[in-house]
């Protein structure tokens, strides 16, 4: 049912897992007019193209595929009568929560009591890496290739080289091998594989895909279609070593070199962003620096499990509803979490410490074994191993939150090797 009035309680920008969770939770808490604005043809975000399993392990205690996981929340959203605008683009968001949207019916401006930003992320491209060489057809980001294979029904090529060993690259490599495509090499600049260990085992090792560690692509050749790449070993400064160059023939190059939260709208609205995460600065209620504007999911920081994205979305939805009904600001940034030794980032970046528990998500800079994660002087946690690709979640319970002294304005988070 499409709302005809422009005044709504909540606009959720982006109908992927974060947005779906935020919308259904806000409805559950009691909001009336909740709208999801989604630019794609269907809800679910990236989940419909993620036909592999590994979703819902913690949230549902089941091993589900992307489409199955998405279906659960799409059904919830439908049952709770959330308004969904598909094939609708948000053109602008203002600090006073006016959302200008555009679709086949024209342009409209919704006036929302609260807004939740759940736009997700996009992939780093060849251009931003500045790989030298020709600019032929046949170069795709892995996510694009995944969509082409799993939704459109085409193969990106027959002889593939993949740059980067991120999760998407490994998952797509397996998908290609299952479709009898020759995946000739995965080229990784670091001395170790980038994604989850599970993917390394079940995608790379299972199918014996050759991985060139400490290598990078120094040239792309072929016109009008890619014919090959030149790879070279790199030194400790990640610079190509002259004389180690090798050509690998291919008709498609896939890139799996990083995800970037998509925050154009956030930037234009004046939302404060964290330069390290690339996403909004948030507190544990997923509130940004602007009253009534919340955020969740990959647009805040790149997650590794969709189960955690769902939880973040629920927190944002719940608090957006609270804000709307009780007018609590949630913009106070009481205690800053500072990135200490071997910590790349922590979210939320601030905590108000007025709830019964807070979940911190963090990533380390370097892999390490036998470590102690410390949050100020209120929590110490021992871990077997940490890797940059596996997000760490640390819970601050009431007991720990009570240890925060009144005058504390920051907590330093560190990850140090046990002596």
């Amino acid at each position: 049912m499409v709302s005809t009035s422009n005044n709504v309680d909540l606009v959720v920008i982006g109908g992927g897992p974060a947005g779906l969770a935020a919308a259904y939770k806000a409805k559950e808490v009691g909001l009336d007019k909740v709208v999801i604005v989604e630019r794609g043809e269907e809800l679910g975000g990236l989940l419909p193209q993620c036909i592999h399993n590994g979703f819902g392990l913690t949230y549902f205690n089941k091993d589900m595929t992307g489409p199955e996981y998405a279906q659960r929340f799409i059904e919830k959203v439908s049952k709770l009568k959330v308004d969904v605008f598909l094939e609708t683009m948000v053109l602008r968001l203002t600090p006073d929560r006016k959302v200008t949207i555009c679709n086949r019916n024209g342009i409209r401006t919704l006036v929302a009591k609260a807004v939740i930003l759940t736009m997700g992320c996009r992939e780093r491209t060849r251009e931003s890496l500045m790989i030298p060489g020709a600019r032929p057809a046949g170069i795709f980001t892995s996510g694009t290739a995944q969509r082409i294979i799993n939704i459109e029904g085409y193969l990106p090529g027959n002889e593939i080289v993949i740059l980067g060993s991120g999760d998407i690259g490994m998952i797509v490599a397996r998908r290609l091998v299952l479709e009898k495509v020759n995946v000739k090499a995965m080229v990784e600049i670091l001395p170790y594989v980038g994604g989850l260990i599970r993917n390394q085992a079940q995608c790379i090792n299972d199918f014996e895909i050759p991985v060139l560690l400490r290598h990078t692509i120094t040239n792309i050749y072929g016109m009008p279609r890619i014919e090959g790449v030149t790879v070279a070993r790199v030194n400790n400064k990640r610079q190509p070593i002259s004389g180690t160059e090798k050509d690998i023939r291919c008709d498609a190059l896939l890139l799996s070199v990083g995800l970037i939260p998509e925050n154009e709208l956030s930037r234009e609205a004046g939302i404060e962003l964290d330069p390290i995460t690339g996403g909004p600065v948030v507190n544990e209620r997923m509130g940004t620096n602007i009253p009534g504007i919340f955020s969740a999911g990959n647009v805040v920081h790149i997650n590794d499990l969709v189960d955690n994205v769902t939880i973040e979305g629920e927190i944002a939805g719940w608090n957006a509803a609270e804000y709307t009904m009780k007018k609590r600001g949630f913009t106070e940034h009481r205690i800053k979490l500072r990135n200490g030794e071997n910590i790349k980032y922590v979210t939320p970046q601030y905590i108000l410490a007025d709830t019964k528990e807070v979940f911190l998500s963090m990533r380390v800079k370097k892999p390490e074994e036998n470590v102690i994660v410390q949050v100020g002087d209120i929590l110490t946690k021992s871990l077997h191993a940490v890797r940059p690709s596996e997000l760490l979640r640390v819970k601050l319970s009431k007991k720990e939150l009570r240890r925060i002294k009144e005058e504390t304005s920051e907590l330093i988070v560190t990850c140090k090797k046990k002596k």
Binding site: I51, H52, T65, I151, L178, E179, I197, Q200, A385, E390
Partner: protein, 132 residues
């Protein structure tokens, strides 16, 4: 067994299996004899890992996720999976079989499309609805 210079030497092999139980990612080493019996397990930091690696060596199984082609549908493909694990060494055989399958709407998520694929006792089920 090989007889060499009057001494007896038994053929042994070492297999490496990456453990996925936790972020350490121990590279478990299994030493096997010529009859593929496990002689020794090493390089694993916990019992969970040992159990996983032994299972992986003895009978590795996987759930297969793929797509099948459609007929009379606005969508080109339907995502599917096996509802149970199948032996790892029959994965490509399963994929070849799926290449021949065509489905047409309506299909409900969870619906069995191919029962007992290649006699593995696993069914191929739809992982989403196909309504048009």
């Amino acid at each position: 067994m090989q007889l060499r210079e009057g001494k007896m030497s038994v053929q042994r092999r070492e297999i490496e299996i990456l453990c996925i139980m936790c972020p350490v990612g121990c590279r478990g080493k299994i030493e096997i004899d010529e009859k593929s019996n496990i002689l020794k397990i090493s390089n694993l930091q916990c019992k969970r890992g040992e159990k996983y690696v032994i299972n992986e060596y003895k009978s590795p199984v996987r759930v297969i996720t793929a797509t099948v082609r459609t007929k009379n549908s606005v969508h080109s493909l339907l995502s599917v999976k096996t509802n149970k694990t199948i032996p790892k060494n029959r994965i490509m055989e399963c994929m070849c079989n799926l290449a021949k399958v065509r489905v047409h709407p309506p299909v409900r998520a969870g619906q069995v499309l191919v029962p007992n694929i290649i006699d593995t006792e696993a069914d191929i089920v739809a992982t989403r609805d196909l309504t048009e």
